[in-house]
């Protein structure tokens, strides 16, 4: 090692040599440090037995989801199994990524006037902000805890009403 390099790292050299004694050649050999590191690893291996581990074996083990997690959307149903949505377009209006498309129609039921004929969410555009859930006056849309969103085509990621109702 050249004189210039030694001069460039004086602080490290002095600290390290202070730890392993004054022997500068032993430090240069690196072997004490290697064995010290290996010992530390071995110590953790022994200590870890019976202790809590933090790694989750995903996907074999499901990752726990906290309350309020915003995953995939779901359209809720009422007691009679009909969609609660009345196609008021509030979610479409508030959606910042413009991923909701609704077409309304007249409801066939006597207790309400309007329902969605088409309700589509483009999951590729969605940013999972949850504004749709907040804007909904009928509590008809919610974000579930589903986050395992995998598909092989883009068209699969446009969720229609049936998919959202069964989600």
């Amino acid at each position: 090692m050249s004189q210039a390099t030694e001069e460039s790292t004086p602080a490290m050299n002095t600290q390290a040599s202070a730890r392993i004694g004054k022997s500068k050649w032993l430090f240069r050999l690196y072997l004490p440090a290697v064995f010290k590191g290996l010992f530390n690893t071995f110590l953790h291996l022994v200590k870890a037995k019976g202790h809590k581990t933090f790694t989750i074996q995903y996907p074999e083990v499901a990752r726990p989801v906290r309350k309020g997690y915003r995953g995939e959307h779901r359209l809720k149903k009422d007691a009679l199994g009909r969609e609660k949505c009345v196609a008021c377009f509030m979610c479409q209006t508030v959606c910042p990524s413009n991923c909701i498309r609704i077409v309304a129609e007249e409801a066939p039921w006597p207790d309400r006037d309007k329902r969605p004929k088409i309700f589509e969410i483009d999951m590729l555009r969605c940013i999972y902000c949850g504004m749709c859930e907040e804007a909904c006056p009928c509590d008809a849309i919610e974000l579930t805890e589903k986050f395992n969103v995998v598909s092989t085509t883009r068209t699969e990621k446009i969720y229609n009403k049936e998919k959202l109702l069964s989600n």
Binding site: V86, A87, C88, F89, M90, T93, A104, R112, D113, K114
Partner: protein, 578 residues
């Protein structure tokens, strides 16, 4: 000339069929003298009055709401409408005056000398909040599914002047929801009994179908038994309803109003040229609503024009291309115009220009008619061979307020006459006769429904065979349906909501059409195709927008030096800005 069915109110297939109530045999006789809204007369003297301590000068008799609005002071109201007589029954426009102890209604107060008006005192705020609270006692909270939501005056005023919650604990009054006419539903629960619609039917249409039934809390707008709301202006009651009590079946659940793109244009249903707003969403016309123009249609439009927009994206809309050299690449390209020009030019050269006929229509904008004129000049077609097709006359209807539906269903008859020649419409029959007799060898037809005119209409026998014997036939059609001979050059044309251009109404007023929807599959319009044809004949430099073409044709309309921009939203009368 073939009679074409007059534009009628088109009922959409997805809308519930009109109820079983019988057609009213004759419209009920309008009662009383014709009433006019209380407006200051033209030469009223100027009087001084005070508005919130500020001294102002307006013509005597000006309505207080209008006078305040001019000063930027918005007095809230429901029952007042500038096109109707004031009723003073909603009590929302209460203002205070030094001359009276109690608040007075602004809508029924004409400006007089020395009037002192306060519009923003604390007691007035309390009064307005109280009025609103009483209106909301029975009004349902169904804004999410109400079509008026977003343009509802009750929403706006409650937000600005009302309380944020209701103290009402009793059950709400339930009123009728019913079908009252061709296109109208009454949602009784939402009605705030402002009687705008009742006054409209009394004063404007003069038919008086609507009335208020029941009393107190139960009062609601209704029709008389067996007299449904069947008049040609009925759609206007939906526009003037300040809440969602009167709902159009045509627009029911079609779109939320805040998503709609609004374009100022004019109606092409008849020669009146009513000023309208085309409201579109996702490139589809959702509804047409009237736009205020004091000199043409005031605040109203008729139902024939209002519901006649389904053809724009209808089944019959033609997107057919057929010309020599047509490939996937040359479609929509400049080749279409070239094909048109070549077909006509070949005949003009071999048989002489007298063998070429050009048929426009009364649905052209002035710009398109001007390009046809240029094409005729380029091919040296004689004036007697340039004609324009017109629709047959319909029925004229004049209403109590003076609103008129013209019998002439050709929106730009005057403009086309000024540009293609005063006898253009007279020439059309002669041109078709010469096609039958074999005098003409080439024909260019630019029309919205050429199949009706060219042979498939009633009483046009012999024309189909005659068309087949033509050496060149070029058709620009809006709606397909005709079987033209194999060698016909076929091109699509544009609908009224896709055109940029100007038209002249029956009073000689030049008004503008603005494009509200994009053309389906990006087809070329007549304006581009004709310019391209002229260019291939060496008579045109480059494709220009309508504004540039208008500059050239303005002198023909009697508006020399007027630019497209100066025609503006409300149009210009015949003499220019006079």
């Amino acid at each position: 000339m073939a009679e074409i069915s007059v534009k009628g109110a088109v009922s959409k297939p997805n809308v519930a069929s009109p109820h079983a109530a019988p057609q009213s045999p004759t419209p009920p006789v309008a009662y009383g003298e014709p009433t006019v809204p209380r407006k200051a007369s033209e030469n009223a003297e100027l009087v001084k009055f005070k508005l919130n301590g500020k001294e102002l000068e307006v013509p005597a008799g000006t309505n207080l709401i209008e006078a305040a609005r001019q000063q930027g002071v918005n007095i809230p109201y429901y029952c007042y409408h500038p096109g109707l007589t004031p009723a003073g029954n909603c009590r929302m426009c209460l203002v205070e005056t030094a001359n009276a102890k109690k608040p007075i209604t602004a809508c029924t107060t004409p400006i007089t000398r020395g009037l002192e008006i306060t519009t923003d005192s604390e007691s007035l705020k309390t009064a307005r909040a109280g009025v609103l609270e009483l209106m909301l006692v029975n009004h349902p909270l169904d804004c999410p599914i109400c079509d008026k939501s977003g343009e509802c005056m009750l929403q706006d005023h409650t937000f600005a002047h009302g309380k944020d919650r209701s103290r009402m604990v009793e059950p709400k009054e339930i009123k009728h929801t019913k079908d009252v006419g061709n296109d109208i539903f009454i949602w009784g629960n939402r009605c705030i009994v402002c009687t705008r619609c009742v006054r409209f039917c009394d004063e404007i249409s003069g038919t008086g179908e609507l009335c208020v039934v029941e009393r107190g809390d139960h009062s609601v707008v209704d029709v008389f038994p067996e007299y449904p709301l069947h008049n040609a202006l009925s759609g206007n009651v939906v526009d003037i309803c300040p809440v969602g009590a009167l709902i159009s079946k045509d627009f029911l659940y079609q779109a939320r109003v805040w998503f709609q793109k609004k374009t100022d244009s004019i109606c092409t249903g008849c020669s009146r040229g009513c000023n309208i707003e085309i409201q579109t969403k996702d490139n589809q016309i959702k509804r047409l609503v009237p736009r205020h123009n004091r000199d043409v249609n005031d605040y109203w439009m008729c139902d024939y024009g209002r519901y006649d927009h389904s053809h724009v994206l209808g089944e019959a809309r033609s997107l057919r291309y057929r010309f020599a050299g047509l490939t996937r690449e040359t479609v929509r390209s400049t080749e279409a115009g070239k094909a048109l020009a070549q077909a006509l030019q070949a005949v003009a050269q071999s048989r002489g220009p007298g063998a070429v006929g050009i048929l426009g229509s009364a649905f052209h904008t002035n710009e398109e008619a001007y390009l046809l004129r240029k094409l005729a000049e380029a091919l040296q077609v004689p004036a007697s061979n340039v004609g324009a097709l017109a629709r047959g006359a319909g029925k004229e209807q004049v209403f109590k307020s003076g609103f008129r539906i013209s019998a002439d269903k050709n929106p730009n008859r005057k403009g086309v006459e000024k540009i293609l020649g005063a006898d253009a419409f007279g020439n059309a029959a002669g041109i078709l006769d010469r096609v039958r007799s074999g005098g003409l060898k080439a024909l260019l037809v630019v029309s919205d429904r050429p199949h009706v005119i060219l042979g498939q209409g009633p009483g046009e026998d012999g024309l189909v065979e005659a068309l087949a014997s033509l050496e060149a036939l070029v058709v620009l059609e809006l709606e397909s349906g005709a079987k033209f001979p194999q060698q016909t050059v076929l091109l699509p044309s544009t609908a009224f909501s896709e055109k940029d251009g100007s038209m002249v109404n029956d009073a000689g007023r030049t008004q503008r059409l603005r494009p509200a929807t994009e053309r389906p599959r990006a087809i070329l319009g007549e304006i581009e195709i004709l310019q391209e044809a002229l260019r291939s004949l060496g008579k045109w430099d480059r494709t220009l927008p309508a504004a540039s073409i208008f500059k050239d044709l303005a002198p023909l309309l009697g508006l020399p030096g007027v630019t497209y921009h100066e025609v503006g939203k409300l149009g210009l009368p015949a003499g220019g800005n006079a």
